[in-house]
């Protein structure tokens, strides 16, 4: 298919223009929040613990998610980072693919992957059960497990 370059001053459909503008604003708004959230995420998980990455295990995650603060924090990080990343990838796909069917398929794939991982991640955070670890009372002594 020949590449058609649109007239720069050709009017966009109102709907299309609104969507692109909202995506543009979202990248900047989510970007600022992500800078703060990710610097916090890296500090708390990699830098501040005495043994850094070596301190991370199931008990570490269970300890964090015992608090609603970290559940909301990680949930926000999941949603914002994945939508921000997916929209960024969409920009690259739109820039570098020439065949329309390929462009469309890659973009659909990107959003299907994003929706699947957002659903998976949200379910993991909201249904997380530390009681699946038989040793849970060694690090969460207050926790009450059923059965």
């Amino acid at each position: 298919m020949a590449i058609v370059i649109e007239q720069p001053d050709a009017p966009r459909s109102r709907k299309g223009a609104q969507w692109e503008k909202r995506a543009w604003i979202f990248m900047r708004a989510s970007g600022i929040i992500l800078v703060l959230l990710i610097i916090g995420h890296l500090s708390v998980n990699l830098v501040l613990p005495e043994h850094g990455v070596k301190a991370i295990d199931f008990a570490f995650v269970a300890g964090k998610w015992a608090s609603p603060f970290w559940q909301v924090y990680d949930g926000l990080l999941l949603w914002l980072a994945l939508i921000h990343g997916t929209n960024g990838m969409r920009t690259l796909v739109n820039d570098y693919t020439e065949r329309e069917w390929l462009r469309k398929s890659l973009n659909i794939t990107l959003w299907v992957v994003a929706a699947t991982l957002i659903l998976l991640g949200t379910l993991v955070i909201t249904t997380f059960d530390p009681c699946i670890d038989p040793n849970v009372h060694n690090y969460l002594p207050e926790l009450v497990c059923k059965g």
Binding site: I32, K54, D57, G85, T86, M89, G121, F128, I132
Partner: protein, 110 residues
């Protein structure tokens, strides 16, 4: 030009790490053993070093992203875009100077 290329390359790298990171964290819903065995690979020396690259990519993308926002919204943003690129690099060097020794201590330390 180089800031634009680096912003794209670091963005793609971070995106693919994010996909893997969501999947590995999801293992906490499977079993402590499954999660611990996969996270153990993050504690190896090779991945520990690769993580320095990841953090470097994230910090560049973060502060260059703020520069992009300032170019868009700050009245003098376009005029100072080049100076702001150097500011981004200085912030990056300072933060990496703090992170790299800490990370090396963690992965090679006792």
């Amino acid at each position: 030009m180089w800031s634009w290329v680096l912003h794209r390359i670091t963005g793609v790298g971070i995106y693919f790490f994010l996909l893997v990171h969501i999947l590995d964290t999801a293992l906490v819903r499977v079993s402590p053993e499954a999660y611990n065995s996969v996270v153990a690979s993050y504690k190896t020396e090779i991945i520990g070093l690769a993580e320095i690259g990841l953090v470097g990519a994230i910090l560049f993308h973060a502060f260059n992203g703020i520069r992009v926002i300032l170019i868009d919204y700050w009245r003098k943003g376009a005029k100072y875009q080049n100076q702001m690129f150097w500011v981004v690099l200085v912030i990056w060097v300072v933060l990496m100077a703090g992170f790299v020794p800490r990370q090396l201590g963690h992965i090679f330390g006792a």
